[in-house]
């Protein structure tokens, strides 16, 4: 009698123990699945550019996504079994059956997980990742459903990147001389360079090079916002300027007087406040116009260099006379316009 | 064309201010000294008495040059011309961007005031003041370096500092101290019409009593 009672109790204890072990193991399963899922998702959301040239990696990605899906369904199935009990109600030894079913399911999960991990290893991360700076930390948001900012951001970046690459391609196609046979093929061979997402070193080198080009123009580079550079220009005793970069493209230019500070009260670079002097407000406008004029997607470093050459010509802002009217002043302004090619000074109203 | 030319004149403003006696050119002063060994106790006591007890007292590191302006070529006749005027130039060595301070200190007023009362002018000036004074005819009298703490309680300025000698070629961090004690000064700038603050000064001095004996010291009684 005693034994009769004791036997199921031992079995019961063992079963409880197994269950507890299993529970402990299960607890970490959702976390694990979530992590893996996110990693896979990251790869899948990464700009299509990185996957496009390598067809094989797309296949690997599809396969691993499928594996992930089946892993998820196995886990769901397993949790369901745990919650509702095994399906075979008619079986007398219900608890033993539960143990059997769960062990089997766990084994399956383990296999799926291993499979996924091996496939993951086969995936190559994007060679030139979009450097999001601090915004990249948004991906750590545990509830992206509430605020899908990170994914919108990625979509936005992908879109921008596409715009840039299309415009680059278009530029090379349009600038090519269609009458020449070699033109098209020659242009194609050049690797498409994306201007807004370049390594920092490249920008550093470029700015350093320009800095050495002119004795009286001093460039200081800083990165107050992570990846993108801000260049502070001091041109003789004539003017100062802040040039904001996006990758290797000039985004924004502000020109100020020699005695106006480039920093705001907190000691940070002031990117927006216009000069209080009308002359430099005009020069700012013209500099932005010049920046757009010189911009060419195919030759971005050349365009930056020519922009700074143009800006350097303002060293004689107050001393030059207008090429057309031979006077210093027109509407109480010195010649604020410089011809793009010849760098000849003109008044706003005397522009050719 | 009629142009109303009535820009308020700087001098006129100042004259008006002088007339209504709102120029803070009077200084109440109490002085004392404390041995270096007891400095910590005094500082702790003062921190408790003064404003902003929760933060450490601000330090200062000043260089003071004292000039005497008088007619050096004239015969020594009694009168202000032979006695001359002392002009003190102070600059903050730890904040080189701050303007220099030119300070005129008059003789103590006679009368029964709770603290030493004297005429005092603090004028921020540009940094060529030493050259200016020399060319004006003044001669360098002495100079020293004062390092210490500054606190405030209401309008009262509390300074605890040590004086160091200035020598030629003396390094900044290797100063020769003059005494083995620190000066403790309580001072407040006020106007001729507002003398109420002197009592507050006395009250604060009394609270320091067992530690520091703060008194009105008349330098004229101290012999040369």
């Amino acid at each position: 009698m005693c034994e009769e009672k004791g036997k199921p109790s031992i079995q019961y204890t063992r079963c409880r123990y197994e269950e507890r072990r299993a529970k402990a193991a299960f607890k970490c399963v959702p976390v694990l699945v979530f992590t893996v899922a996110r990693n896979v998702l990251k790869f899948s959301r990464a700009p299509s550019r990185m996957a496009a040239p390598e067809g094989s990696s797309v296949e690997v990605l599809t396969v691993s996504l499928n594996t992930l899906r089946s892993l998820r369904s196995t886990v769901t199935q397993f949790l369901k079994t745990l919650a509702e009990g095994p399906k075979y109600e008619n079986n007398q030894d219900g608890e033993g059956d539960l143990l059997e079913v769960t062990t089997k399911a766990m084994g399956e999960i383990r296999n799926k997980l291993r499979e996924l991990e091996t496939q993951m290893a086969g995936l190559t991360p994007s060679s030139v990742p979009v450097n999001l700076g601090n915004t990249g930390l948004l991906s750590l948001d545990p509830s992206p459903d509430k605020l899908p900012q990170y994914y919108q951001l990625l979509d936005c970046y992908t879109y921008m990147e596409k715009v840039h690459s299309y415009s680059t391609t278009l530029h090379s196609v349009l600038s090519a001389n269609n009458l020449k046979r070699s033109a098209l093929s020659a242009k194609r061979r050049r690797p498409i360079q994306l201007n807004h997402n370049v390594p920092q070193q490249q920008v550093d080198m470029l700015i350093q090079g320009i800095n050495q080009m002119f004795q009286d123009m001093n460039l200081t580079l800083s990165r107050p916002f992570g990846n993108n550079a801000v260049v502070q220009v001091a041109l003789g005793r004539v003017l100062k300027a802040v040039v904001t970069f996006k990758g290797i493209l000039i985004e924004w230019v502000v020109v100020r007087a020699h005695n106006e500070s480039l920093l705001d009260e907190d000691g940070k670079v002031d990117l927006y406040t216009p000069s209080q002097y009308k002359v430099f407000q005009k020069v700012t406008d013209n500099a932005n116009a010049a920046m757009l004029n010189f911009c060419s997607p195919g030759f971005s470093d050349l365009s930056v260099r020519s922009f700074f050459t143009w800006l350097h010509s303002f060293v004689s802002l107050f001393t030059d006379v207008c090429k057309k009217c031979n006077y210093h002043l027109h509407n109480h302004m010195p010649p604020t316009w410089r011809e793009f090619r010849t760098l000849d000074p003109f008044h706003e109203e005397c522009k050719p | 064309m009629a142009m109303p030319v009535n820009v308020p004149h700087v001098g006129e403003n100042l004259e008006a201010a002088m007339k209504s006696q709102i120029v803070p050119d009077q200084e109440f002063l109490l002085q004392g000294s404390v041995l270096d060994t007891s400095l910590g106790v005094v500082i702790d006591r003062l921190r408790g008495l003064c404003d902003n007890a929760d933060i450490l007292p601000e330090t200062f590191h000043d260089h003071e040059v004292v000039f005497v302006l008088k007619d050096f070529s004239a015969m020594s006749t009694p009168g202000p011309a032979s006695q001359g005027v002392m002009l003190r130039v102070r600059r903050a060595m730890d904040y080189p961007d701050l303007p220099y301070q030119l300070r005129y200190v008059g003789y103590p007023e006679l009368g029964n005031y709770p603290a030493l009362l004297r005429n005092c002018l603090d004028i921020p000036v540009s940094n060529n003041v030493c050259e200016f004074l020399t060319e004006l005819g003044a001669k360098l009298d002495h100079e020293f370096i004062a390092k210490g703490f500054i606190m405030k309680k209401g309008r009262i300025k509390v300074t605890v500092f040590k004086m160091y000698k200035m020598g030629i070629g003396m390094a900044k961090d290797n100063l020769e101290q003059m005494t083995m004690s620190h000066m403790v000064e309580l001072s407040v700038l006020t106007t001729k019409t507002d003398m109420s603050v002197a009592e507050d000064l006395r009250a604060l001095a009394d609270q320091l009593k067992p530690l520091v004996q703060l008194e009105r010291i008349d330098y004229r009684r101290l012999g040369p």
Partner: protein, 214 residues
């Protein structure tokens, strides 16, 4: 603070207000905006001692820098300009055993201020102890800070409303400071220079008073 140039405008009629009105009209044709008034005054103290060299101490106030007193010491060989808080004025009476001012030499330039683009023009009537003396025009070009860079530009501007009285060469004061950064002290020193010229009577000395001012 831009570069400032001072120019004495010749007043052949010796009436003062007629000529300033003429300048006012001319400058309004250049789309100037009148933006208030200004005064620059100068008191001069002399050494009272008989022995030693004679030094002059000019005490100047400029309404553009209302809380600053400029003390310019002229030793004969060199000039030292001290910028001080205007409490410096209170110090002067304490120095009267060495420096005393002569009240009848108090000289000032008062008038209207105009803005034209980045230029600021001040047309001042100079009076010495109430007597009209001359017309002094101050032109400042705000964006530039080195006289060497913008002199010819400023000359062109000044000639546009003052005509031929503007000499093609730089004023001697600026000539010596061509490549320095211009400071408010430089402006005040130029005023002192011109005031001295007017006092000594090297330029025209008027006799009429400017009591009415219209």
């Amino acid at each position: 603070m831009g570069v400032t140039v001072l120019q004495i405008f010749p007043d052949s009629s010796r009436s003062g207000c007629l000529e300033t009105e003429k300048l006012h009209k001319r400058i309004m044709h250049l789309d100037a905006v009148q933006c208030g008034m200004f005064t620059v005054d100068c008191d001069t103290c002399y050494t009272v001692t008989q022995t030693g060299n004679n030094r002059k101490l000019h005490i100047v106030h400029n309404s553009e820098t209302p809380t600053t007193t400029y003390a310019i010491l002229d030793t004969g060989t060199k000039q030292i300009t001290l910028s001080a808080d205007y409490l410096f004025d209170l110090l002067l009476p304490r120095l009267d055993f060495m420096y005393q001012s002569k009240k009848n030499l108090k000289i000032e330039s008062k008038g209207a201020k105009y803005e034209i683009g980045d230029f600021v023009v001040k047309i001042g009537t100079v009076t010495m102890s109430g007597h009209y003396k001359a017309i002094l025009v101050e032109v400042e070009y705000l964006p530039c800070h080195t006289p060497a860079l913008c002199w010819s530009l400023m000359r062109e501007f000044m000639q546009s409303f003052m005509g031929s009285c503007v000499k093609p060469t730089l004023p001697s004061y600026l000539q010596n400071r061509l490549h320095d950064i211009h400071t408010p002290q430089d402006t005040v020193q130029q005023y002192v220079e011109k005031f001295n010229e007017i006092r000594e009577g090297t330029t025209f000395a008027g006799t009429q008073t400017t009591g009415s001012g219209s």
